[in-house]
Amino acid sequence: MNFDVDDDQQLLDDSIRRLLRKDYDFDARREILRSSAGGSDHVWKTFADMGLLALPIPETYGGFGAGAVKMMGMMECIGEALVVEPYLSTVGLGAQFVSRWGSDAQKQEVLPAIAQGRLKMAFAQIEDGSRYELGHVATTAAKSAAGWVINGEKRVVIDAPASNKLIVSARTSGDIRDAEGLSLFMVNTATPGIRLKRYTTLDGLRAADVTFDNVAVAADALLGTQGTGLVMMREVVDFATALLCAEAVGAIRSANEATLDYIKNRKQFGVAIGSFQVTQHRIVDMVMSYEQVKSMACLACVQADTAVDADERSRIISAAKIRVADACRQVSQDAVQLHGGMGLSDEMKISHTFRRLTMIARQFGDADHHLARFAA
């Protein structure tokens, strides 16, 4: 057994943290949120230069072939700094679909471009009424002479506005909630017939509802085998969920650090508010949750990398997500409470961490969703 990260990994994590402290401090992040694109080309380029976009990309396509465990440091840093760049969408979802099931041509087209920072991706999956079920898909892809024609509407496609390509789940046969008959397509976001209604999310990400109105794509837009979409989505979303758990570790650590610092320094009644036992017990509970979440994130990432049995992998990753969701709720609420009025101010990082934790708790399924999956 060995929970240590090796020296190279440690060096990399340290340099990511240094970069984000400099280029993604609270004020810099705020400028990025306010910018029209809602993201930073400069930071994306730096990620590319540091090899961070190449981390999980197979070596044959210009990457480092890292798994989830090797990406934990990066994800924790993202959580700490509340990075809003499309990292998880591009590297944790898009690149995963392609490296696992893409044809050689698809890999050649996409993976080196992602590694070099030239290509961003988003995953168009959620629909009206789907909640967190990957298998609930009404969008259709019909075979045509030239390839496929996609029709439907996807909701809350995180990072769609910045993306060059979308991975779209669509039905090639079957009924709205059938497990069979789902297929995945990789399409250019700029394809005629695709329309984006853009908005920002609670936690400052850019997203869009995406309509597909007779979107004609070539035959080679199909990713992997027709009809096996659900299996592919489960595997990749499990992988991304494990990464999200690692992101939560960073965000929770940052919330705890900020809160500890605050209650040590904020004085009321002539003493630091951290001298009251009720505040002490709260922060102790927050710190204990952090440790539990860190453990579950390790477990989830190891599973994502090494599991042989898909059901067992999904069960463990659900377990991690449940624990993470509970901790996100507890830590975000208590951190704000302990900050008093300050905790609600948009000027304080903690209010932004609160919002991100609120969304992490629900992304890829809330606690109820994963409780059901765990029990199944």
């Binding site: 909640r131 209604k197 908005y199 704000v336 008093g340």
Partner: protein, 394 residues
Amino acid sequence: MDLNFSAEELAFRDQVRSWLNATMPRDLRDKVANNERLSKAEIVRWHRMLADQGWIAPAWPVEWGGTGWNVVQRYIFEEECGYAGAPQLPRFGLSMCAPVLLKFGTEAQKRRYLPKIYNGEEIWCQGYSEPGAGSDLAALSTRAEKRGDAYVVNGQKIWTTIAHHADWMFCLVRTSAQTGKRQEGISFLLVDMKTPGIRVKPIILMDGGHDVNEVFFEDVRVPAENLVHEEGKGWTVAKYLLGHERMNSGRIAGSKRELQKLKKLASKEMRNGVPLMSDVRFRDRLTRVEIELMALEITNLRFLDRMRRTGQPPGADVSMLKIKGTEITQLITELMMDAVGPLAQPTLPVDDIDGWDMFVASLAPVYCLTRKSSIYAGSNEIQRNIIAKMTLGL
């Protein structure tokens, strides 16, 4: 034991209900239903409608416009307003400044301020909290120095709700250097917000909205006649008011309305092809809140009944109502957000979006903003301290 309202009380309830149904403007009702912020003009519009009906200040003495209702009738009225989704009017003038003036004000002060509070002509805000004085209010340091027939005020207030709309502020200031107890040397002043030297700076909260402000005072001259009660006796006034502030903090009517909305929403939202309402996990979470609210309603009535019979002012009871009431409100906002699942994420359109659902988009921000209710008006930790000390003698 009889937990039912009497026939007269029921008749009264019907009268209030039908008036509200007939009178409440559609546009205001819709805005409230969509969790939209009301403009100052809209708030004043509803205020005036209630004033015209004679129902704006039920708790005031009849000679100043009160309705003469007993505590149960007042409770029923609040309940009906909440249930009908009537806009919540700022309480600072009607339920905070006015009771203070009625108890401690001079005749001249009552005559000057009460009618304009009553008819909505002047909006008030509350200037208590300061950067260094939140839970520990007695640590406040905004100074008021007597110079001739005026106090000259210097210092800063923070978290002042609707200071940007307000015509007047009632505030606590330090009129003499701290010598003995910190509570001494504090005075209660009425300040015209148009006085030179006052600067109001918005604070944006995490729902992206503007309700609260910082207020800076630089050599602000306040006529000495704006002092309420005696100089140095501001703490007595503030303590009297705190009881009033927390009287209606159970927010039971509002929570009942929100719970109804939540049930409707959860019956419409689908999970795996069946309504979310039939999902055991979600339904049980909702039911637990519903039961807590049911209990709190009866607890509240028990406390009211005791007050009515003993004539005693509410004690540490109100702390419990505040804690439980805010916990329930917060849980409901969380369930609302959860009910719509991933669709709660979008909050602010970038493009011009046809059919943008304002209500769904408001659920996550409202959840965030509602974290305030366990912090303000005496944080829930401070309320627990009060119960521990006053009720349990710890």
